[in-house]
Amino acid sequence: MAGPPADRPSAKRLPRGRHGLPRAAVVSNQRERIIDSIVHVCATKGYPAVTVEDITSYAGVSRRTFYDLFADKEQCFLAAYDLNAERLVTEVGSAYAAGDLQWPERMASALRSLAAVLAAEPCLARFMIVEVLAAGRPALTRRDQALTRFEAFFEPGRLGLPDGMDGQELIGQAVVGGLYEALYTQILDGEAELLPDVVADLVYCALVPYLGHRRAMAASKAERERRARFVTDAAARQQPGQGRASTKSPQDTAKSEQAILGAD
């Protein structure tokens, strides 16, 4: 009962390495198993090609069970999207709210937390950021609503904008769209796992419309140093000579920067 059956056909198409199935998420009830399943099969074969059969066989449930719970593939997708959107907003929101920090640092915490979740669960990343765009109009509406919720984190940034500036309400929307594109590109390239390495750049891009180059760059540098310390500490925790399971090597970091920066 602990997990999906071993003979699930789509299992071999999962990304290598960590694929975002922490034990706590190995769910016991069928609805959750199905929701977990649609995330994985959409991430591996793309929403348009996914069949109910794919979902049920990965989840290890019968078609009957599926149709008892969901009207069709789309309803199942929307349920999975809603659940995970709620989770992401909550998680990012608590990172944003934690501690006694200024707004720029709050934004850095929020982006760091978002990158961490998406990197830990690449299938979820693909599902939430890419597949939602292929899943029909109701899914798009859900995405638009979720983006609007993320815009709220940018409201305090308005204090950095010049007094009397027109069109301030569009800046948050623009910035969220910009960050979405950055995540989208990296996830589409199959590099969701490397997102924590680009948080410093994301911080810059999120802050610069509100604070200008110098202050955005200062926050970005602080975030880069924080990441470097984290990577060093993580490496130090490894036994010498057992580098196989270590976090990103400098080469990996360089590769990720290349991947996101060298797209043109």
Partner: protein, 229 residues
């Protein structure tokens, strides 16, 4: 540009003898199919779209369709690529008329907004439906966004003394797409050009800072700016 659009039945070639070479007829039919894709895809969505939808809008037979394209995905990718090339040419042409970087950027972006205001179906195709159309389509999208981002921002960002991350070009591209998409979604197809000041602000702010960017973009009057700044 609008007059050159070939769409729907109105532009079908006259029936009977018309003195055109076979090659010209074939190309004309092919173009009709390519032009039919954006509106068809907006109306039905890529997943529900059929070859029949494209063929009937273009006024050609299924057989003619399959003489030109492997399947609907092939036709979509061809159409996406051609429309993207046209947009890049329009933006590049307009930008070239500017005398400095600011002007080139503004001219290029304004041309893009005008072009898309005439063709809101392209926005759906470019931003949304492409995601349902397979990896080849996504490759073309990536190429097009990269080209447009480079056209708009390359000049400025390589010359900055302490350069912004190159990721900024991507996020600016994403900001522009999101603003355009949200406007089209809200039914403001025709007013896309009203986004120009906000887009200019987003492009300029890393270089000029919020105060000067807002003034240059036309979001703040110079006098207000100097009083409060």
């Amino acid at each position: 540009m609008a007059r050159e659009r070939i769409s729907d039945d109105a532009s079908q070639l006259p029936r009977g003898r018309h003195g055109l070479t076979h090659g010209a007829v074939v190309e004309h039919q092919r173009q009709r199919m390519i032009r039919a894709v954006p509106s068809a895809v907006r109306e039905k969505g890529f997943v529900a779209l059929t070859v029949e939808d494209i063929a009937s809008r273009a006024g050609v037979s299924r057989r003619t369709f399959y003489e030109n394209f492997r399947d609907k995905e092939d036709c979509f990718v061809t159409s996406y690529r051609q429309h993207a090339q046209e947009l890049v040419a329009v933006v590049g042409g307009a930008a070239a008329a500017g005398s400095d970087w600011h002007e080139r950027t503004r001219f290029g972006l304004r041309a893009m907004l005008r072009h898309l205001a005439e063709r809101p179906d392209l926005v759906y195709m470019a931003v949304i439906e492409v995601n349902a159309a397979g990896p080849a389509a996504l490759g073309v999208r990536d190429e097009a966004v990269g080209l447009l981002a480079a056209l708009i921002g390359d000049e400025a960002f390589v010359t900055a003394p302490e350069p912004a991350p190159r990721l900024l070009l991507r996020t600016i591209g994403g900001s522009i797409l999101q603003l355009i998409y949200a406007s089209v979604l809200a039914g403001h197809d025709r007013e896309l050009e009203e986004l120009l000041p906000t887009i200019m602000y987003i492009v300029l702010v890393a270089i000029d800072g919020p105060q000067d960017a807002a003034i240059r973009a036309g979001l703040l009057s110079a006098r207000t700016g100097s009083e409060t700044g």
